[in-house]
Symmetry: C2
Subunit: 314 residues, 2 copies
Amino acid sequence: MAAEAVTICECFARDGLQHEEAFIPTETKVAAIDAFVALGFRRVEATSYSHPKYVPQFADADAVLQRVSRRPGTRLKATCPNLNAVRRAIAAQDAGHGPEEISLLVSATDSHSKRNLNRSRGEQWELVEAMAAEGAGRFVMVGTISVALGCPFEKQVPRARVLEDARRMAAAGVRHIAIGDTVGMGTPRSVRALFEDLARAVPDCTLIAHFHDTRGTAIANCVAAYEAGARYFDSAFGGVGGHPTKIQYGEGYTGNVCTEDLVAMFEGMGIDTGLDMSRLLDVARDCETMLGRTLRGMVTRSGLGLLEGAAAHV
Amino acid sequence: MAAEAVTICECFARDGLQHEEAFIPTETKVAAIDAFVALGFRRVEATSYSHPKYVPQFADADAVLQRVSRRPGTRLKATCPNLNAVRRAIAAQDAGHGPEEISLLVSATDSHSKRNLNRSRGEQWELVEAMAAEGAGRFVMVGTISVALGCPFEKQVPRARVLEDARRMAAAGVRHIAIGDTVGMGTPRSVRALFEDLARAVPDCTLIAHFHDTRGTAIANCVAAYEAGARYFDSAFGGVGGHPTKIQYGEGYTGNVCTEDLVAMFEGMGIDTGLDMSRLLDVARDCETMLGRTLRGMVTRSGLGLLEGAAAHV
């Protein structure tokens, strides 16, 4: 039984590394991104144009984008936290080494917006609309809605507000909308309900599932999003990323859904990821070498046997 | 939206501990089982009547069952690998401290049967039928079909063979059938297809999802089984259990699906587990203390925020 293919965005180099304490050398980041592109990812989150004072990890954003290999059909994404960041992306593009995608961020709750972005939702929305106007026609713009499935401060997030945010993104000319389960409070049921409603609310937009595995539900939530029609997923090798401290987010570890486990499952279900499966685990192991520690991938240790076992049932 | 409740069998004390290198003291096992019963589990896998020479961890099977607290409505299960084990269960029952459930085991592949049970499938089936005849009318009998979703040696397992095994269990008078994804080779797609077919093949039987998280898919597979109609699940606190060695199973770590994460997700989906949620994480932490190491539960570290966040979407 053929199933519709998925497009996975590898987020290791940005969302994955953002909270690493040590600065990862530029050449390591470049090697990682080159490996992701070679593996077949059509979308790779490469860096962030954050101010180096706030996020020193990405002080080398320009250098990274200048040095990485490009491949036709693969888009590199850079996070843009403010208007100046969009202007840096534009300058890089004019100089021939810009990202193909930029991401703009709002929080679904005011408490999270103030804590994470240092601005109220109202202020952030004004900013996002200005950024979207600036980037229009130049970039694929990804509007990310954080804490869309639960907020560590306000807990419940009304679904109507996420739908309203998605419509506002669409009205601002954004055609890719990422739904962030920032602290892993979604369940297969809430994910399915939200994605079904979103498909009706913004039918012209591509929905992206950006899920964290804080509570062990990320892979199940990806399945639910797929069943509700989502075909774009964000993930990070080794399940790295997020905010490990309780200080910023109220509760603990919040890594991204793990690329190698998600990809193995999709492929085992007969869902094409477009990736070179013969090299998936090599890249997963290289990511562990890069960070100098064992990461959270299960298939990295147990192997891809799932693919063969599941084939009988596809 | 009300959803049908689930019955979870806590497997920490048997499947979970079977491959612990150190002998866990009898009083620790008894305290664990008592805590599980107090938490509200209606089924608890308590021990195994394996020969102490082969599985020294359960040399204290009789003592454990003699000392644990009983609670009306809660059934304790003991694994019975052979006819002598069933006779020990009967003697214990006659003495007033028997298990309410016994489990009988077949492998869906001959290679796994020989490696795990030291008998061909044919020999094992004869044995299981004799055991079922001996236990009939005394115990709730659980027929477990191992490697039902993929075998580390033969890889693909024909679905027709699992259906045939289930019918043969039913014909032997077994009314509870556990589907073992022993090395985590199932995917939501293969699980759903198998459980839908099983519901048609053995409509009078209660199906139990017994999944291992070797490849990160166990929670997603439980959701798929639920959607296909399964309401009984096996799990272990901390995701312990299985065979960590490559020697016996060809590939690595194979712990049970993690109780605390599974329960948190089900409750977050509005699916009642009947458990005391205010004490779930205390018991999870006690299990870590018992084994003297950090186990695999995610909510044990991140908290149950999911319940509050998801409530808006139920």
